[in-house]
């Protein structure tokens, strides 16, 4: 007897389902901002309160909620909108960059990204073989850690046809490493007395997920956050080329479908929100907005990032640290240390020997 299937929800009902989780994201983000303000007020009256910025408060609150309690099912669809708020924030950050900066720093980032990609893909592949990981899991870890984390892994999933378990392991490893970056990168940046711009470029080049890269940058300061977004955006632009390369390789091994229309494949994998970022940057460059209007757009970007930061905390499951097996995480950690050191060296070469600030 055929099993009855549930009818797909109507569009208004789908949108309504987003409401609880979206409100939760904004609620956590606002609570983080309020706690930061409360801290300023209390410290001004010489009452002790931890000196923590709203970005970290939002992440801590998100982490507490998702790890101490179980987020009820009703919130899950809306929590997924953190991706929308993150991309909206990135598009609006374009208002803070004139096109010349985008071309100059973005172009420089592209060169650094190219070097980072070539070396990190090679090292991750070697590490995967050395520790005996399944070949496709190695490919997924290499793609995820060298380009843009979960997005790249999901893009590769359809192209190289890995086991579902390999995909989930790679995603869990990348999310775990992203969570570790949140707490280690700002400490390293402060220890090395890095400037806002150089630190931002470094995190954009080294941290895998766009969300974690943005947060890791913002934890160091607003300017660092913006440059992290710029460098990360340049890195994300490579996603189609790398996934296509792996798809062609696995197809040549007879273990994935052949890519027939390569230009269409590249367009499908290209992160389209980058076009919005460039469009807003062009409008800012040609004087379409007044200085006050640009400030408003920049502030709107911060409001959009607020729920995205909360989402990073909410989706991070600390128990996954111990649930995924030691070999993928060891390969990931070693690979990430290599990528962090490589990109740090490149950034220092550019900013200290290249005469930039």
């Amino acid at each position: 007897m055929p099993t009855p299937t549930a009818a797909p929800a109507s569009r208004p009902r789908q949108l309504l389902a987003l409401l609880p989780g979206t409100l939760l994201l904004f609620g956590i983000g606002l609570a983080g901002k309020l706690l930061e303000s409360l801290g300023y007020t209390l410290r001004a009256r010489h009452i002790y309160f931890p000196h923590i910025e709203y970005v970290l408060w939002a992440i801590i609150l998100g982490l507490l909620i998702s790890n101490v309690f179980t987020v009820p099912e009703i919130f899950r669809p809306g929590v997924a909108t953190y991706e929308l708020w993150l991309k909206l924030g990135i598009v609006l950050v374009g208002a803070k960059f004139v096109l010349g900066d985008v071309l100059h720093i973005g172009g420089m980032s592209l060169v650094l990204v190219f070097i980072e990609l070539a070396l990190s893909l090679t090292v991750m592949t070697f590490l995967g073989k050395f520790f005996g990981l399944p070949p496709k899991l190695t490919s997924l870890l290499a793609i995820g850690s060298s380009i843009c984390g979960v997005t790249a892994i999901m893009a590769a999933q359809g192209a190289i046809e890995p086991d579902e378990e390999d995909t989930s392991t790679a995603i869990a490893a990348i999310l775990t490493l992203g969570a570790l970056a949140l707490f280690t990168f700002p400490a390293i940046g402060h220890a090395l007395h890095m400037g806002q711009q150089s630190y931002g470029i470094w995190t954009g080049l080294a941290v895998d997920n766009t969300a974690e890269a943005t947060v890791t940058g913002a934890l160091y300061g607003d300017v660092a956050g913006r440059y992290a977004v710029l460098a990360k955006t340049a890195r994300s632009a490579f996603i189609g080329f790398v996934v296509l390369g792996y798809a062609i390789y696995w197809a040549s091994q007879g273990k994935a479908a052949i890519v027939k229309n390569k230009p269409l494949f590249l367009w499908q994998k290209f992160p389209k929100f980058i076009l919005g970022f460039v469009a807003i940057s062009i409008l800012a460059t040609v004087g379409f907005f007044t200085a006050g209007q640009l400030t408003s757009l920049s502030n709107l970007s911060k409001w959009a990032f607020l729920p995205a930061f909360a989402g990073v905390g909410l989706r991070t499951q600390l128990r996954d640290l111990v649930n995924q097996g030691w070999r993928p995480i060891l390969v990931g950690v070693l690979g990430e240390i290599f990528i962090a050191l490589l990109t740090l060296g490149m950034v220092f070469a550019v900013y200290h020997h290249g005469g930039m600030q």
Partner: protein, 45 residues
């Protein structure tokens, strides 16, 4: 063997039913237009 698949249960649930890129660009351009036309005068932080 450890339960590796459990790790991404949350991730697979966190999938949007619409195109976030297109929505983000549309919302950003709509706000940009409203700010440019002075329908929204100021957004503070």
């Amino acid at each position: 063997m450890s339960p590796r698949f459990e790790a991404t249960k949350a991730v697979t649930h966190l999938k949007l039913a619409f195109n976030a890129d297109a929505a983000a660009i549309a919302i950003a351009l709509a706000f940009a237009a409203l700010i440019r036309l002075n329908v929204i005068h100021h957004i503070g932080w």
